[in-house]
Amino acid sequence: MKLNLILLSLSLASLAAAELPAREIIEQHIDRHTLPDETTVMEIKLIDRKGAENTQHLRRLRKTEAGGLIRSLVVYDAPADIKGIALLTRENEGQSNDQWLYFPSRRRLQRIAQGRRSGYFMGTDFTYEDMDPEKPDQFSYAHLPEERIGDHLCYVIEARPADKQAARASGYGKRELWIRKDILFCIQVKFYDRQERLIKTRTHSDLVNLEGEVWRANRSFVDNLDKSHQTEVRITERDVRTEIPDDTFRERHITTGRYMK
């Protein structure tokens, strides 16, 4: 009898998962937590294999335009010798995102090649690809058995590049995402290289409910197993109410120095 009950509950669980296809979970996850305007101030700690820490301070401005396309601007505020470095990202409909890097000493906005996306961003353990908004069209998603992290039951979704072109553009062979079932918020990602070896784990914690169904993590931690290096991101300030002007994401806004505080 007990066995029957267990089998029944297992089948119900798989039915429930089947109810919501993996891609839909990802899309819902994106839609649910998107806000029109968001400015965050963060502290990034780079931790090397010996535990030595290097701290950076930066701001991220993010705006969702009509049509759901995202613009973002990341600006370094400290330490002094990298103050003013900026990364501008523009999401394109149905294509790869565009990215530009601004070096104050060169006073020039430099466009980043597609291949660059598998490179690490500013010495952190985030690649440029990690900084891109998730693009469901470029990946195929599949359910893995659900897992519990702490008290929370999670969907576990495997994301693989959708085609050869996407595979060449991505530095990863696959990713596994743990998405909390109750709030559809991603709390853990495991990254695998092209040989499908685990190379990196990213966890999101200190979750806060901003408004309605919108959640954010105030701490992210990347453990780069491949490089024996870690990156910790802590959000120190967050503003989701102030509208960010459109021209913030224009090249001229950056090259004229108006993006600085």
């Binding site: 090397d48 040989q195 780069n224 491949d226």
Partner: protein, 758 residues
């Protein structure tokens, strides 16, 4: 000593049971005996530069890597690069490997069509031949990959495997080398050449060579000893007795190593063979004396009594001089030598103890029912030698001049010519796979030898400042122009690469600190951590070269350090360091250790002889013939191009300690005759009586040492050859010079009459 030996011969069973129990107890610590091949043990432990090196290692990590060398004419083709990538993935997955640095991980920064690209030099294997050609050109021109990771022609590459030093023990390194070898064997057909080299491989080979040498040398030493003893005693059964005493001594010595956690090293592994060879000499003298007693018709117990009476003092003194020869090596500050000195001293301390207890006991037990030797006449060679020597001694002063002066001249010539050397690769013979692989790699890529230059500043971020980085560049330019350095690599090479890619400028560095900081953000921290500390207060320049001789390397390092001292800005300090440098620096300790150990053993030998004969003159007469082999040693080293290294530096002290034994036996015999006979006749008598044991022990020792010539380690082979030459020289000196000195420098009645040497 005599009383003790008498006691042992009177209580043979008790003696044997006690030795048996002690030997059983000695089995317990055997499990602690380990083979160790640490590079640290080759350094001078009191070298002040070690502290600086340790700090540098703490700052920038270890230089120890495993290196995979791949050679193939079609390396830059889809098939080969695909196999290469797959091989790297497999190697990275091995336990004990922290990461792999290769063409697939080096960042390549380009700016084309106004697009900034900073992907790995090889991201994915090429799909077309044009792409493959483009990648080859890019790789061979890449400022960091050039000669370090790819050959000039693009037909060879290297994978640097950083080791997880938590797995740094020898056993783990050996297991890692085997795992790497297994992985490579799966790709054997994929490339024209695929070799492993680097730290784990060297440790694995060293351990294998030690094990192989043990297997070959021990049986050979036993064989040589058996042949010599059978020849001398004309009885195989009698010949096995010294093996019994040696065997027990070896067991106790290994127990001593286990108890005090002294490892088996590239030097101490030869101690068992030395115990067999050296330890048997006392047995030979004792058995010869016993033999003579029996030939003269004495009953076994009387023969034992005679043996003890005549040899107890001589055996004590010769054991002490032999022991001193090895103990003088234990005073070295190089752990490898120190450990060898301790182990060999212990072995040669317990061996005579076991000999004086076991031999009388066994002889007493066997005496009633076994004759150990046949009654035969000595070989006629033992009559011919004293007669030839006697004829040569007719013009004693001429003979002394004709023997001593050439030895002195040859020694001075050799001393001026001989090179000191202490180099890891120098331990292996030129035809060994380690040397061959290193040679092959060096043909295409930068040499496998390395050192670092550490630059320190007084404030954080100093090495983001262009003027400080410029000084590092100046040092690198100086080294590149020196002609003997294959490559130097530092943070500056990364910055120069980025700066030239982004600006096309001929200038190597950006103008401002901010410019440097911005460029650094294009690199992952793990890529620059071998070259700069996270606070940028310390910078590291890694230098690769192919100089494997200390004599050539150390003056060049001296010149480089002088250039640094002359040019280094006051705001910075800079110094050369590295594991290889510390090992090479130990040559100075080896040279001073050689002089010190010869001095110590010579002084003690002279002192002991003076005490034994209660005459300073006898002390000097006994010492002179044993110093002559030192001259021959240095001369032969120069002639045969044998360097002075950790092994060869021991030869002189060891051989004086051994050779003086025969002199002691000869002098004791001379002295006992001199009370009744004039010097000339006393010498004749002593020589006739002692020629057989002296020749037999010297030939046994020389052959025993020559067995070690078969060692796979070059310094051990050289040590063996030199020792054999020195012992043969010492034999000739004992036959020619000692008797001549005695006839020239002793007058009738000159021997102290009151001394009671039996």
């Amino acid at each position: 000593m005599q009383k003790l030996m008498y006691w042992f011969s009177r209580h043979p069973r008790r003696t044997l049971v006690t030795i048996g129990i002690l030997s059983l107890l000695a089995l317990i610590p055997l499990r602690n005996v380990r083979i160790e091949t640490s590079v640290k043990s080759m350094m001078d432990q009191h070298d002040p530069a070690r502290q600086f090196y340790q700090e540098t290692r703490d700052l920038f990590g270890t230089e120890a890597i495993a290196l995979i060398y791949i050679e193939d004419r079609d390396l830059f083709s889809f098939r080969k690069l695909d196999a290469l990538q797959s091989l790297i993935f497999d190697l990275e997955g091995l336990v004990g490997i922290e990461s792999a640095i290769s063409l697939f991980t080096l960042t390549d920064i380009t700016l084309s069509d106004d697009l900034l690209d900073a992907r790995p030099l090889l991201d994915l294997p090429p799909t077309t031949q044009e792409e493959a050609d483009r990648l080859r050109t890019r790789a061979t021109q890449h400022p960091i990959a050039r000669r370090l990771f790819v050959s000039q022609e693009g037909d060879a590459t290297a994978i640097h495997l950083r080791l997880d030093m938590h797995n740094g023990h020898d056993d783990q390194m050996i297991a890692l080398a085997e795992r790497i070898e297994d992985t490579l064997s799966a790709y054997a057909g994929a490339f024209e050449r695929l070799d492993q080299t680097g730290r784990p491989y060297i440790i694995e080979r060293q351990s294998a060579y030690i094990a192989r040498d043990q297997k070959v040398m021990l049986p050979l030493a036993v064989g040589v000893l058996l042949i010599m003893l059978t020849f001398m005693l004309s009885s195989f059964k009698g010949a096995t007795l010294p093996l019994l005493t040696s065997g027990v001594s070896i067991l106790w010595t290994l127990a001593f190593m286990g108890l005090f956690h002294i490892p088996v090293t590239v030097l101490s592994f030869m101690v068992p063979s030395l115990i067999i060879v050296i330890g048997s000499t006392e047995d030979i003298h004792l058995l010869a004396e016993y033999h003579e007693g029996r030939i003269r018709g004495m009953a076994p117990k009387a023969a034992i009594h005679r043996m003890i009476q005549r040899l107890a003092v001589a055996v004590t003194f010769t054991a002490v001089t032999t022991l001193l020869g090895f103990a003088s090596i234990a005073t070295s500050t190089i752990p490898l030598l120190k450990q060898f000195g301790w182990v060999a001293s212990f072995g040669l301390f317990v061996n005579p103890l076991i000999t004086i207890s076991l031999l009388p006991a066994v002889l007493a037990l066997l005496s009633d029912r076994s004759v150990l030797m046949k009654k035969n006449k000595p070989h006629r060679i033992f009559f011919i030698i004293p007669s030839i020597v006697s004829r040569l001694r007719r013009r004693p002063r001429l003979l002394l001049a004709a023997t001593c002066l050439p030895c002195l001249a040859f020694g001075i010539y050799g001393f001026m010519q001989v090179e000191a050397d202490n180099n890891i690769i120098g331990y292996f013979k030129p035809d060994s796979p380690i040397v061959k692989r290193a040679d092959r790699l060096t043909e295409k890529l930068a040499g496998v030898e390395s050192f670092c230059i550490r630059l320190d500043a007084d404030h954080e971020g100093a090495f983001k400042e262009p003027e400080n980085l410029s000084y590092a560049l100046r040092l690198q330019d100086y080294m590149e122009q020196s002609g003997w350095i294959d490559r130097s690599i530092s943070l500056t090479d990364y910055l120069r690469h980025i700066h030239q890619a982004l600006t096309g400028s001929a200038e190597p560095l950006p103008e401002s600190r901010n410019g440097v900081a911005e460029y650094l953000l294009l690199l992952h921290q793990s890529e620059i951590e071998p070259y700069a500390t996270p606070d940028f207060r310390h910078l590291n320049i890694i230098v690769r070269h192919n100089v494997r001789s200390s004599k050539k390397l150390m003056p060049r390092i001296g010149e480089l350090q002088q250039f640094i001292d002359r040019t280094c800005p006051p705001r910075l300090t800079a110094a050369v360091t590295g594991e290889g440098i510390l090992v090479n620096r130990a040559v100075y300790t080896i040279i001073s250790g050689q002089v010190r150990s010869i001095f110590i053993i010579a002084c003690f030998a002279a002192l002991l002889l003076s005490i034994l004969f209660k005459s300073f003159r006898f002390g000097i007469i006994g010492l002179i013939p044993n110093l002559l082999p030192i001259g021959i040693q240095f001369g032969m080293m120069a002639l045969l191009d044998i360097p002075l290294n950790v092994a060869t530096s021991m030869a002189a002290a060891v051989c004086i300690g051994l050779a003086v034994d025969d002199t002691i036996h000869l002098l004791i015999r001379f002295k006992s005759r001199h009370a009744e006979l004039p010097p000339e006749e006393a010498v004749e008598s002593a020589l006739r009586h002692m020629v057989k044991p002296i020749v037999t022990t010297s030939v046994s020792l020389s052959l025993g040492f020559l067995v070690m010539r078969f060692s796979l380690f070059k310094p051990i082979g050289d040590f063996a050859l030199l020792s054999a030459i020195m012992l043969t020289t010492a034999l000739l000196a004992d036959l020619l010079v000692t008797p001549t000195l005695l006839t020239v420098f002793t007058q009738p009645g000159a021997t102290p009459e009151k001394s009671r040497i039996p």
